[in-house]
Every structure is written in C-alpha cells, then in structure tokens.
C-alpha cells in the first residue's frame, strides 16, 4: 500500500477532541489494527491531544493541535503537535503506571496520579517527544503485526 498520510487539525477546545478520536479509530481499522488495538491507540492519541490543550496551552482556546498520521504495512506513527509551552522531557521518562503514587491504595494519593503518559508508554511500541523551533511533538509508534 506504500506510505499513507493524513493530518487532522483541531483548535484547542476539549469539546473537539472526540472528532480526533473517532477519526483515529477508523484510521487504525483501515491500517488493519484489531478493534482492541484501535481503541487503545485512539486512547493514547486522545491523551496526547488532551495534554497539549491542558498543559501546553493551559486550556487557552483558539490555538491549534495537529495530529499527523502516517502508516505503512509495518508501522503506524502518530505525531501530536502544538505550539504551546514545551514539556519537560523528564516527565515522559519518569511516567510509569506502576510508580509509588499510582500504585498506592490510598484514594487521596491516587486521585493526584497522572496517568496519560504512563498509559501511552504501556500501550504503544514507542513514545518520543521533540520540541524544535517552537513546535512540540509527541510521537507515538505502534507496530502492525
């Protein structure tokens, strides 16, 4: 099928995130992922888009979040890009669903636990972050088996 590519752009409005989600889900089915994989990949892309809106843009509306989807026979890649405040890359390195404050049984600590980056690292085959010339991109990769 060669390398296929499509871009989806929304403004930084939480209410537009589902539009990205349903499109990504269908793209995954088209790229021959299972229904479960499609659900999980949709989740990761939505976590990334939500982080751009919440953290990079501080929920300021009117900014753009761009999702670039490319896939070949062997791999699907999602780049989620914003022009907001860059993320400290340590955040990504340290993110782990099994770290102390996410594993505790104490409901107080659990409520504070961020899960987005940890979920991406569990589900995807690769999670990278790049910030260059004012453009920040989180890069999610998943192998197609």
């Amino acid at each position: 099928m060669g390398l296929r590519k499509v871009k989806i752009i929304i403004e930084s409005d939480l209410d537009d995130i589902p539009l990205v989600g349903i499109a990504v889900n269908r793209f995954c089915s088209y790229a021959a992922f299972s229904e479960t994989d499609a659900f999980n990949i949709e989740l990761c892309v939505i976590e990334a888009v939500t982080n751009s809106i919440k953290h990079a843009y501080g929920e300021k509306t009117g900014e753009e979040v761009v999702v670039i989807f490319t896939f070949s026979d062997s791999e699907a890649v999602f780049e989620i890009c914003d022009k907001g405040k860059p993320m400290d890359p340590e955040r990504l390195k340290k993110a782990d669903l099994t770290t102390a404050h996410c594993e505790t049984q104490s409901i107080e600590t659990l409520a504070e636990c961020g899960r987005g980056l940890g979920i991406m690292k569990e589900i995807m085959d690769g999670v990278d972050y790049r910030s260059e010339n004012g453009i920040n991109c989180l890069i999610l990769k998943k192998n197609i088996l």
Binding site: L43, T50, L110, G114
Partner: protein, 110 residues
C-alpha cells in the same frame, strides 16, 4: 456524554452514555458533588453506555470516589464494556472500585 439518573431503593444510579473524557468528566464530577451536598452518598455509576474512557474520565471517577468516601459513602461501578474494563485494569483502578455486572447488582451490594 449524557447522564440519566434513577434510584434503586436508597441508592442513586448515574447512567452514563457516550464518551467519558476530559470534557465530559467535569459533568460527572459536578453531578456527584451536587448529590453529596444532598447527602446522597450511595452511588452507582452505570457505564453500560460508555464506549470510551480516558485518564481524565478515570480521574473524575477517582476524585468522585474520594469526595464520597470522605463522608463515608461509596461509589460502585457497573456494566463496563470490554475495552473500558481493560483500561480500568491497565491503570489498576479495578482494585479501588467495586465493579459489578449491572446496576441492580451494584445497588444491592450496599
């Protein structure tokens, strides 16, 4: 996401339909806060109609549970769809919530 409410005996059931995400999770938290103010603290969240959940959705369930626990109430979760259940397990939240096959069973468990 839509939230429909009904009562089973002295338990309040919140029936969610749609996507429980960063946008809609605010509505869920708002509803739970309002119920707690009326001292309705035995809650069931019926998720049969929820076909998508993300970490914001999970976060809103956990912080709702915290609010309800503080006044000695509880939230039970019912009727998780397969993919949604697997995200509960991935994030280990199935250890924190009582999870039931349907809203009736969840309500009876109080």
């Amino acid at each position: 996401m839509e939230i429909a409410e009904k009562r089973i005996e002295n338990v309040d059931v919140l029936k969610l339909t749609g996507r429980l995400d960063a946008s809609s999770s605010k509505n869920l938290k708002g509803r739970v806060d309002a119920l707690v103010k009326e001292n309705r603290i035995r809650l069931v969240v019926d998720m049969a109609g929820v076909d998508f959940i993300d970490s914001s959705g999970l976060g809103s369930l956990v912080s709702s549970l915290r609010v309800v626990n503080r006044v000695n109430g509880d939230i039970k979760v019912a009727a998780l769809q397969k993919q949604v259940r697997s995200i509960f397990e991935l994030t280990r939240l199935h250890r924190i919530f009582g999870i039931f096959d349907d809203a009736e069973a969840a309500a009876k468990s109080f």
